[in-house]
């Protein structure tokens, strides 16, 4: 990190002005989250008493317990966890294998097939969900884990990113490995996969996030509360209790906890993944 040069230097009063603006903006931005956390720790009656409702007083864990039990959140969280992890693992595997094939193997129609895979990036989910619901129904996979997971086990974005990484491997390396006796599986295990680790990390994070936050698809193919995911579970909690604001926030807090933990642990991957598309290089 470079030391602050004369250019970066922010002097005296300018400095405090900046801190002021930063703080005001932070307060505005954080306010909804503040409410989310605070209300989750308040009893349901607190919402009628302003401005006391916004102060960190009269705290209780009852609301959270309530949301957990009433909202069936343990089941929903479990479902979301299973589905998200399955999708993440599946995406990593299929993307890794496909990217490997496109990068290190020779076969007819390789170029064409790659563009075909890439082309799927142009087809948004909103368009395919319609027909995919029919497909899932005819397979009898409504209200099931398969229905929630299988359609998302392959992602073109992952294939694209991993192939970019693999393209940086010099041809000599592959040839040297072949002379050393490494077949494709060996090369994949010893060279390609380790090289792809950072990208796989970012990919895993984004797959997990995407899967965990899914809304439209789970809503369309599950009706049975046993298979409901947490996002839909939140909605049913809120429509069943439209006036119990603290219960609703408690639900959102519980549902957000896994994501916050994952994000804190995978900060670097988050930045790397988001900037893959934005900045040069």
């Amino acid at each position: 990190m470079a030391e602050a040069s004369a250019l970066d230097r922010v002097s005296g009063s300018r400095k405090w002005a900046r801190y002021l603006v930063l703080t005001v903006v932070a307060i505005l931005l954080l306010f909804p989250i503040y409410v989310m956390v605070l209300f989750s720790l308040k009893p349901g009656t607190a919402i009628f008493d302003y401005p006391r409702a916004l102060l960190p007083v009269d705290l209780t864990l009852e609301t959270l317990k309530d949301a957990w039990n009433q909202g069936n959140l343990d089941r929903y969280l479990l479902n979301s966890a299973i589905v998200s992890i399955a999708i993440t693992v599946g995406t990593l595997i299929t993307s890794l294998l496909a990217a490997y094939a496109f990068s290190f193997m020779r076969f007819p129609l390789r170029g064409l097939l790659f563009y075909v895979v890439l082309a799927t990036l142009l087809v948004p989910a909103e368009v395919t969900i319609l027909a995919n619901t029919d497909t899932i129904k005819s397979l009898g996979w409504t209200d099931s884990y398969q229905g929630l997971v299988v359609p998302f086990l392959a992602a073109a974005f992952g294939v694209f990113l991993l192939r970019q990484v693999f393209l940086t491997v010099p041809k000599d390396l592959r040839e040297a490995a072949a002379l050393d006796g490494l077949g494709h599986f060996g090369f994949l295990r010893e060279v390609a996969a380790p090289l792809a680790r950072p990208t796989l990390g970012a990919l895993a994070l984004f797959s997990f996030l995407g899967a965990y936050n899914q809304y439209l698809w789970p809503q369309r193919i599950t009706n049975d509360p046993d298979y409901r995911t947490v996002q839909i579970g939140l909605r049913s909690l809120s429509s069943a209790n439209p006036d119990r604001l603290t219960l609703i926030t408690a639900g959102t807090l519980i549902a957000s906890a896994p994501i916050v933990i994952v994000l804190i642990g995978f900060q670097r991957q988050l930045i790397r993944g988001l900037t893959a598309g934005a900045v040069k290089g």
Partner: protein, 295 residues
């Protein structure tokens, strides 16, 4: 082809099989089927379909409902994309200095990334509920109490816009910050020595060199705006009084949509939505090409 080559090709197809099959079944097949389904009317609940043909695409394109939803979608994008961009960039520039505590502020500004759309929507539901909502009780505006911001035909869509902008702020902030860090310090120092003050440096160095980043952010924000569903489902159900907040996506999938039971018409609209998003994606690819020339 030699034996090893044949073996390699077979192995390759094996590696590709999962991805190709999955993409084939769940992307290409549905695309084709949806286009075909769009030629029919009805079909909801396994009921009978009536063939209409290509004429249906034309009819839908002309219909008031579709055009209205297109207008709503366009308006929604207009509300959320420029504002989201400016806010994200503003936050990034604000937090870009080497002052003590910047890491804290950067974490705070990124924080909305942790909320899913459903969670964000529900939080704002709690804020905007008429009578008992938080903002309703601390802000003096009448419309919040009666009939409630999300229930007012004029304010429902802007309110949704605010929710969306807030939810995306963290994401846009992270992207802009990364973009800012990609600008070589040399350029700032050179401009400084040449006599350029803060604003001039911003307009001559920061903004032009953020070009690719801004383009990326705009495209992602626009696509997200087009995909908005959960918020509408949770907060307005398509809009107070009919279809005030019915975007194209909600028109297809919303439970309160006029075509909620007509899979044929849904398919038609879906294909039209696809074409719209195709145009947006292609703009992105063109943008990528331009970026290469900058290097």
């Amino acid at each position: 082809m030699s034996r090893t080559r044949t073996r390699e090709a077979l192995l390759a197809f094996l590696f590709l099989l999962p991805a190709l099959v999955l993409l084939g079944v769940f992307v290409f097949y549905p695309l084709g089927r949806t286009i075909w389904l769009g030629l029919y009317r009805g079909g909801g609940f396994g009921g009978a379909k009536t063939y209409v043909g290509l004429q249906q695409y034309w009819d839908v394109l002309q219909s008031n409902e579709f055009r209205h939803s297109l207008g709503v979608t366009f308006l929604f994008a207009l509300i959320t994309v420029p504002a989201g961009l400016v806010i994200g960039l503003g936050l990034a520039v604000l937090a870009d200095k080497h002052l003590r505590g910047m890491r804290f502020f950067r974490t705070v500004y990124s924080s909305t990334v942790a909320t899913s759309v459903a969670v964000a929507s529900l939080i704002w539901l709690v804020l905007l509920q008429p009578q008992i909502g938080v903002l309703t009780n601390i802000l003096p505006f009448e419309v919040l109490k009666e009939p409630g911001l999300l229930q007012d035909p004029t304010w429902a869509l802007p309110a949704l816009g605010i929710v969306s902008i807030w939810a995306n702020a963290g994401f846009t902030f992270i992207i802009m910050t990364a973009g800012l860090q990609g600008i070589p310090r040399d350029l700032y120092e050179s401009a400084f020595v040449d006599g350029a003050g803060g604003w001039r440096r911003f307009t001559n160095v920061t903004v032009p060199l953020l070009g690719p980043t801004i383009l990326f952010a705009v495209v992602v924000l626009t696509v997200r705006a087009l995909q908005t569903y959960a918020e509408i489902d949770i907060l307005t159900g398509g809009g107070p009084q009919g279809d005030v907040t019915t975007t194209v996506t909600y028109l297809i999938y919303g439970r309160n949509s006029v075509i909620a039971f007509d899979t044929g018409l849904q398919a038609t609209v879906a294909v039209l939505l696809f074409l719209i998003m195709l145009v947006v994606s292609l703009i992105q690819f063109r943008g990528l090409e331009r970026r290469v020339h900058y290097g």
